[in-house]
Symmetry: C2
Subunit: 179 residues, 2 copies
DNA sequence: ATAATTTCTTAACAATTGTAAAGAGATGCT
DNA sequence: AGCATCTCTTTACAATTGTTAAGAAATTAT
């Protein structure tokens, strides 16, 4: 579900639908099975889970990216997290059945999917490595340098949990950063 | 490179070799291209990288597991990290060429490899989530509960970096834990 | 527009972690 | 065995982060 999977979607127009939803729309709730995957035409999405009463956001998605609770969509197991829009969004919505149909009938699709899975593996490993190697200040600086759009479009409280710190600590780091 | 890939290795015995190496043998050095993958018959291995003069260990491997610098082995890019034995080890060593030969000629191999990649994606995501959600104490407790063999077989200084803390801090946490 | 709500910042204090250094303990080498 | 080296623990102090609470700023709703 990344850009390499954008191949030939238009010929399957009857297998997915385009929907428009407001901000804070829950696309998949923690504990439920993901029967749909989404592709973001416009807007932002976050993935988060409940942690002792507080929300921990661990991934953000924007235009041109695919979103689903991967392992739930793949295995049929209940999702460990919620997927929710950050803003009003326009999405392509496809069912698991139709997704599999396309995967089975499109040459190269599964190879592209495998590559996307591999790239996401590298992405998560990088996030883990940054966590054990870098300080919160360094992680914030990396975010500013590499993914400034996240800072512009995601509320700071969500970014704080993504960085593994509290909103108060993030605010202090930002304060230092200005000087 | 996990247990599901153990299928039918014996019929390819001329495509890999079994080697025995002492502790602290570097199987792949940071900056070099991974031309071989390994399967651990006996012993332990760690993956680490240089971080401002200090070593940061981010993964440990033992009997029955496959080891390689994944993306280097796959893409031919220089590896970002070093792979080194923790103890004397007995390993199966296979070249990239022979690995691809087997992958191409064994039905189901690529599907099993894809599944292994997916499982490792989930593994790294879990590590990342533990980092942003749990305290160092909680992460240590999880290690004690879920992977006690790591504590028994890996020097504490390496475990400390894996938990994202200093050896001093780990020592303090262990001290508290005894009580 | 105004009020209500939510988000972000700031401050004070407690708790945790990092750093540096010293000593104890374990391991390895000849 | 004895020496040297490496690892782990402990201590003291500095720096950072978490927690709680209050106020400022921004957003949302009516």
């Amino acid at each position: 579900m990344n850009q390499s999977l954008l191949i030939a979607w238009e010929q399957y127009r009857d297998l997915y639908e385009e929907i428009s939803v407001p901000a804070r729309t829950i696309l998949l709730e923690e504990g439920k099975v993901a029967r749909y995957a989404y592709y973001i035409r416009e807007g932002g999405v976050r993935a988060w889970f409940n942690n002792k009463g507080k929300e921990t956001s661990f991934q953000f998605f924007f235009e041109g990216e695919g979103v689903s609770a991967m392992e739930s969509f793949r295995t049929g197991q209940p999702s460990m997290y919620t997927i929710e829009t950050l803003s009003a969004a326009r999405l392509l919505k496809i069912s698991k059945e139709n997704f599999d149909l396309i995967a089975d009938s499109t040459p190269g699709f599964k190879a592209a999917l495998e590559e996307a899975v591999f790239q996401r593996l590298l992405h998560y490993r990088k996030l883990f490595v940054c966590q054990i190697r870098d300080t919160p200040q360094e992680r914030y600086a990396t975010l500013v340098a590499d993914q400034p759009h996240i800072l512009q479009r995601v509320p700071l409280q969500y970014i704080a949990s993504y960085l593994g710190i509290t909103p108060v600590s993030l605010s202090r780091i930002r304060n230092k950063f200005q000087k």
